[in-house]
Symmetry: C2
Subunit: 370 residues, 2 copies
């Protein structure tokens, strides 16, 4: 088994988010609190107008371009307000005053949160809803009813709460495809250039809460309204290179360190994807070989590699499991408050060795219960 250095609690943090970050990144962040190397000042006291910070933003932009293999007609932005702010900014930019409905998928808790914010602004067509099937599965292509005249299609690539993940790109190439990738961003390769916009808050795979990455194709914004508040106007943010007003300097710096780690220590998204697949496979195997003691929430073909939601035979056993896990050093295994049960989140920062330890613990717990 791989050796896990540093704080053992951080190494076994299965939290749904804010989640585990790589140990080597945490070490660098710690150093930067008193003095950023080469600057000498605390990261908390460096001006966002400094040359140093301009270089941070520029390197981070380039790292994300490189990792996603983005053509030049995409902008990379670092905003505040999380995915929730994007739930509003997006329709304010592309749906206000429209008569044709935007296509939205309702595949779980988080995609459901996007719907009322879009409906405040303009017409919405729910192209598919998994509500009647308790969000245990995702739609097949045959079930999806996309409109060629929709201003855009919006969906979520990975449902964090239910542990459902699309393993294909959805939609029509003639309708702007917009995806909330908050919980699987930079976790594996993908067809990123087929999207008109991708957004992801940092606190799953790439950093602390407080910053959101937005990748947006230039032409998507050509008819954007001119009367939006500055901070909600993508074009204003693009012109200002994400420094329209004071950005979250610390959070952006941590995301830079994570992308450096992804490129230099992991070796890019293909390598990251293989590690994440191995982690998920190991845990799902433990579920599948547990004789229905551990029961996965998601249908097999729609299982997420990021979030594994499962139940035990009784709620009492689940409570016992969570207490025993906590005592054994595992953090963040409680399911989302809307679903209950257990959820193990396997974000980039969590090592394979942690999943090996969890699986060992789960097998041991099961033997003692049966």
């Amino acid at each position: 088994m791989e050796k896990m250095p540093g704080n053992p609690l951080n190494s076994l943090n299965f939290s749904g988010g804010p989640g585990a970050l790589p140990e080597s990144v945490l070490q660098q962040v710690q150093e930067s609190i008193l003095a950023v190397p080469g600057v000498g000042l605390s990261i908390l006291g460096i001006s966002h107008r400094s040359d140093w910070f301009a270089a941070v933003v520029s390197e981070l932009e380039n790292n994300i371009r490189t990792l996603l293999n983005l053509p030049k007609n995409y902008h990379v932005l670092f905003l505040q307000g999380g995915a929730t702010q994007q739930f509003s900014m997006l329709p304010m930019t592309l749906l206000a005053g429209k008569t044709q409905a935007a296509d939205y998928l309702h595949t779980g808790y988080w995609s459901g949160k996007a719907l009322p914010e879009a409906r405040r602004v303009g017409p919405v067509n729910v192209a598919w809803s998994g509500e009647s099937s308790a969000f245990k599965r995702l739609p097949s292509d045959e079930e999806l009813d996309f409109h060629p005249d929709a201003p855009y299609l919006h969906y979520i690539s990975n449902e964090t709460v239910e542990g459902l993940q699309f393993n294909r790109t959805l939609g029509r190439d003639d309708v702007p495809r917009i995806c909330d990738m908050s919980s699987d961003f930079l976790s594996a390769p993908g067809e990123f250039e087929r999207f008109s916009m991708i957004y992801a808050h940092a606190q799953k795979n790439i950093g602390p809460a407080g910053v959101t990455v937005v990748v947006v194709k230039d032409e998507l914004l050509k008819n954007a309204p001119n009367n939006l508040p500055g901070f909600l106007d993508y074009r204003t943010q693009i012109e200002a290179h994400s420094i329209f007003n004071t950005p979250p300097v610390f959070a952006i710096y941590v995301v830079l360190l994570v992308t450096r780690w992804l490129i230099n220590e992991i070796g890019g998204l293909a390598a990251m994807g293989e590690i994440n697949s191995a982690k998920a496979q190991l845990l799902y195997q433990a579920l599948d070989s547990s004789n229905q003691f551990y029961r996965g929430h998601a249908t097999e073909q729609d299982r997420s590699k990021m979030n594994v939601a499962f139940n035990l035979p009784t709620q009492e056993q689940e409570e016992k499991f969570l207490t025993a896990a906590l005592n054994a050093g595992f953090s963040g295994l409680g399911g989302h408050r809307s679903l209950g049960g257990i959820r193990a989140s396997l974000y980039n920062g969590l090592q394979l060795a942690a999943v090996e330890k969890l699986v060992e613990f789960m097998e041991d717990f099961r033997r003692r219960q049966c």
Copy 2:
């Protein structure tokens, strides 16, 4: 002279913001990056839904209530988006659909930024503008033309760029008084209960960039519209206790540590105000006794205790000064890009000893130039 522990560059950080934070706070923040005491996890990997974080928000709310001596009918919120987001949220909440203009003061760079965002939403009356006097002074009471039927009065207590600060409370008690205190929040006592709303981003006196404190009187929101996006709706944020969506956990934790420092190490706002007065007095004395070598931007009676903006006889001398200061270990002394010159920001985290060192340096520099 007081001994300054820790990193000497942090001790001499005169940046306009993000600015200097107390050394003892930085030490605690550094520890929390690998493990928060009593939790054992990195501050970057703790869930915002944990009991620990609920206690952080609750203690911070109470600390701010205590420091400002707020009655129970005020809410304390921690939002994202900086003062800039408040420039929009405020009129969206109180000015939309109104025929009576809100009173705004235009006393410098930052209060000027609030105007176009308010005008997008509703009618604005500029009750006074310092534009014609190059923002070198603030208005007297006689110059102010406040309307009794204005939905609210908005002004900025301290203009960070120009170094102008009101030393009195403005406006009529029958019109909601709303103040951007971003650059002098928690720096001295004040008549806080005379305001219907106070807001302040953290990155001057109380923490890192990425979180904004909003203090709002319950009755101000009684007629707020119901159709605002959730994250821009003060009432939604109040109901959610600032956790409507994932909040900036790290930034909020740092602000908590700063308020603990203010209460336990400094002794509250009266003590903080005395320290800040002593710092400002020392620096202004150096300006006034320099035989017009150092020329303060602000008129004497409107001088800010937080930001001291000044010029030297020539731009060449200013550049020489900034280079020499940097070489001597002083950071962040360059004036705001809109004004140029020199600006020394004396936020809470900066010690009197740092100002003593700066004054010594300035006197030495002047002797060598004259």
